[in-house]
C-alpha cells in the first residue's frame, strides 16, 4: 500500500459564485467519494479561500517575512485535499474520477505520491 495526496485545484471565483443548489450537489458528490473510498481516506479537508492564506518565508538577510496571501499567487487556487492510502495509481485514478472537481471544467485534481520513510 502507498499513500497519495489528492490536491484539488480550481478557479476560486467560480467556487465562490456557486449557488446553494450547486453547493449541495458538490457536497453530495464528496460524500459519495468518501463512501466509495471508505477506509482508504486517511484525511481530507476543504480549505478556506486563498486570500485567507498567510505565507511565511525567509528574507535575504535571514529574517522571517510574513506576507498576506498564498505561496503561489495563481488563478488556480488550492481548494482542498484528501490523503488516501491505495495499492497503486490505477486504484487512486478510479477513485479520483468520482470527485466532482474533475468534471467541472475550471478545476482538476493533482495526484502526488507521498514519500515513504520506512
Amino acid at each position: 500500500m502507498a499513500k497519495y495526496m489528492l490536491l484539488i485545484y480550481g478557479d476560486a471565483t467560480r467556487w465562490d459564485a456557486m449557488s446553494a443548489t450547486e453547493r449541495s450537489a458538490l457536497e453530495a458528490a464528496h460524500a459519495a467519494f468518501r463512501e466509495a473510498a471508505g477506509a482508504r481516506v486517511l484525511g481530507g479537508e476543504e480549505l478556506e479561500s486563498a486570500p485567507s492564506a498567510t505565507t511565511l518565508r525567509g528574507g535575504v538577510t535571514g529574517d522571517l517575512i510574513t506576507t498576506d496571501g498564498p505561496f503561489l499567487d495563481t488563478k488556480e487556487a488550492l481548494g482542498g485535499f484528501y490523503l488516501l492510502e491505495a495499492a497503486d495509481l490505477d486504484e487512486v485514478l478510479a477513485l479520483a474520477a468520482l470527485l466532482p472537481e474533475v468534471r467541472a471544467g475550471h478545476s482538476g485534481v493533482e495526484i502526488r505520491p507521498v514519500v515513504f520513510h520506512g
Partner: protein, 413 residues
C-alpha cells in the same frame, strides 16, 4: 564467433526480448533490475551457445537465466531492496473468466503506455523495454541526443516506481480508455520505422516490425475491438508493400514505379479481411479510413488502375473526422493532384504553404515541388526541391530529391 549463434541470439532478441524482460520483471518488481538481468542473459547466450548449441526453446532458456540472475541479486541485496518502492505487480494470473490473454508482454506494454506518463516517455519506454531497442537506437529514431533519451527513460522508470503505476493489463472496465494511448504509441513507432527521420536506410524494420508485433498482440487481447483491428489492418497493408519501396539499386521507388510483384499478397489479404471486420463492427474510425486508403493502393494491380477518386473521397472523410490535421489536408491535395492533374493539386496545396505546423514538414515542399515540376514551372520547382532537401534527413529520400533537382535544373537557363 560462430555466425549461426550470433544469428540465433539476434533472432531471439527480436522475438523473445519483451517476454524475457516482462517475466523477469514479474519476479524482480523492478524494471531496472529486470532489464539488467535480461541483458545479462543475452550476453550469457553468446558465451554458452557456441559450445552447448542453440537450445530448442531459446526464449525459455533466456528467461530461466535472467530469472536465476535476478534471484541471485535479490538474495544479495534483500535488505537494501526492501526499502525501495517496488513495481506493483499482480500476485495472481488472471483466469480465463477475465477473457484476457495473460501475456507478460501486454502487462509491460500497458505499463509503458500508462496515461500518467507523457507521450514521448510512453514511446521511449515501449521501444526500450518492449521492443528491446538500445537507448542509442531509440534516440536516433527521434533525433535527440542519447543522453537526453537516457534521461527521459530514467525519469519515466522512476515515475512508474514512485507513483506506483501498476504492472498489469487494465481491468476490463479501464481497458477501453487505456487502449487508445497504446494504439497511438504503436502507430507512432510504425510511422517512425516506415520512413526513418534520418540515416542511410529508408525503412527501420526494427521499429516497424516491433509495431506490427505489438498490434498483433493487442488484436489477440481484444479480437472484437474495431479500432485495434483497424490499426493492425493499416500496419499490415503498409508493411505488405515495404519491399517495393526501395529498388535493387537502393534507390527510392515511388508508388508509380514500384514492382508490385514484390508486394506480400498474403499480408494484403489479411489486412483487407481485418479492415472488413473492423468496418462491420462499428462506424469507421481514423485508423479504419487510413487502412481503407492503404487497401485501395494495395489492391490496385497496376499504378494506372489506382482509384484516385476513391482515395480523394476517403481523405475527405478523414479530414472531416480530423479537421485540424494539416497532414491529412496535404495528403488529400496530393491525391487531388493525381485525380485531376497538377494544377488542381497545386490549388488544393497552396493554402497549406502558410500553415505554421507544416513549416518544416519536408513532404509539403516535396509535393509542392512535384506539382510545379509537372506543370513545367522549372525555377519554382527548383526552389521547392532545394527547400525539401534542407528538411529531409533520410539519405534515400535525399538521393531521390537530388536527382529530381538535377533534372529540373537542366531546364533552367
Amino acid at each position: 564467433m560462430n555466425e549461426d549463434v550470433v544469428a540465433a541470439v539476434a533472432a531471439a532478441h527480436r522475438r523473445d526480448w519483451a517476454q524475457v524482460l516482462a517475466t523477469t520483471a514479474q519476479l524482480t518488481r523492478d524494471l531496472d533490475l529486470a532489464e539488467e538481468c535480461t541483458q545479462d542473459a543475452y550476453a550469457q547466450a553468446l558465451l554458452v551457445w557456441p559450445d552447448s548449441g542453440v537450445p530448442a526453446r531459446p526464449g525459455a532458456w533466456l528467461t530461466q537465466v535472467a530469472r536465476n540472475r535476478a534471484r541471485d541479486v535479490l538474495r544479495r541485496e534483500s535488505r537494501f531492496r526492501r526499502t525501495l518502492p517496488l513495481l506493483v505487480a499482480e500476485e495472481t494470473v488472471p483466469g480465463p473468466e477475465d477473457g484476457l490473454v495473460a501475456d507478460d508482454r501486454l502487462r509491460l506494454l500497458f505499463t509503458c503506455c500508462h496515461p500518467a506518463l507523457a507521450r514521448e516517455a510512453q514511446v521511449a519506454l515501449t521501444l526500450r523495454l518492449v521492443c528491446g531497442l538500445s537507448t542509442a537506437e531509440v534516440a536516433r529514431a527521434f533525433l535527440v541526443p542519447e543522453s537526453t533519451m537516457a534521461a527521459r527513460i530514467t525519469r519515466a522508470k522512476k515515475k512508474i516506481a514512485t507513483a506506483r503505476i501498476p504492472y498489469r493489463v487494465p481491468s476490463s472496465d479501464q481497458l477501453g480508455e487505456r487502449v487508445g494511448a497504446v494504439l497511438q504509441v504503436v502507430h507512432l513507432i510504425y510511422t517512425t520505422g516506415h520512413t526513418a527521420p534520418s540515416g542511410p536506410e529508408l525503412i527501420r524494420p526494427d521499429l516497424s516490425g516491433c509495431a506490427v508485433d505489438l498490434a498483433r498482440l493487442l488484436h489477440l487481447l481484444m479480437p472484437t475491438d474495431a479500432e485495434v483491428s483497424a490499426l493492425l489492418a493499416l500496419l499490415l497493408l503498409n508493411d505488405a508493400r515495404a519491399a517495393g519501396r526501395v529498388g535493387p539499386d537502393g534507390r527510392l521507388r515511388l508508388l508509380a514505379e514500384q514492382d508490385r510483384s514484390t508486394w506480400d499478397t498474403e499480408l494484403i489479404a489479411e489486412g483487407a479481411a481485418l479492415l472488413t471486420d473492423a468496418l462491420r463492427r462499428g462506424p469507421p474510425t481514423r485508423y479504419a479510413v487510413e487502412a481503407a486508403i492503404a487497401a485501395v493502393h494495395a489492391e490496385a494491380r497496376t499504378w494506372e488502375e489506382t482509384d484516385w477518386a476513391e482515395i480523394v473521397a476517403l481523405y475527405t472523410v478523414l479530414q472531416r473526422m480530423w479537421p485540424h490535421s494539416p497532414v491529412v489536408q496535404l495528403n488529400r491535395a496530393a491525391a487531388i493532384g493525381m485525380r485531376d492533374g497538377p494544377r488542381a493539386g497545386l490549388d488544393a496545396l497552396t493554402p497549406l504553404l502558410r500553415e505554421p505546423a507544416l513549416a518544416t514538414y519536408s513532404y509539403l515542399s516535396a509535393t509542392h515541388a512535384d506539382f510545379l515540376r509537372r506543370l513545367g514551372d522549372w525555377p519554382a520547382a527548383a526552389v521547392a526541391y532545394e527547400e525539401a532537401l534542407t528538411l529531409t534527413g533520410n539519405e534515400v529520400e535525399r538521393a531521390f530529391l537530388t536527382d529530381r533537382l538535377t533534372e529540373v535544373r537542366r531546364h533552367l537557363p
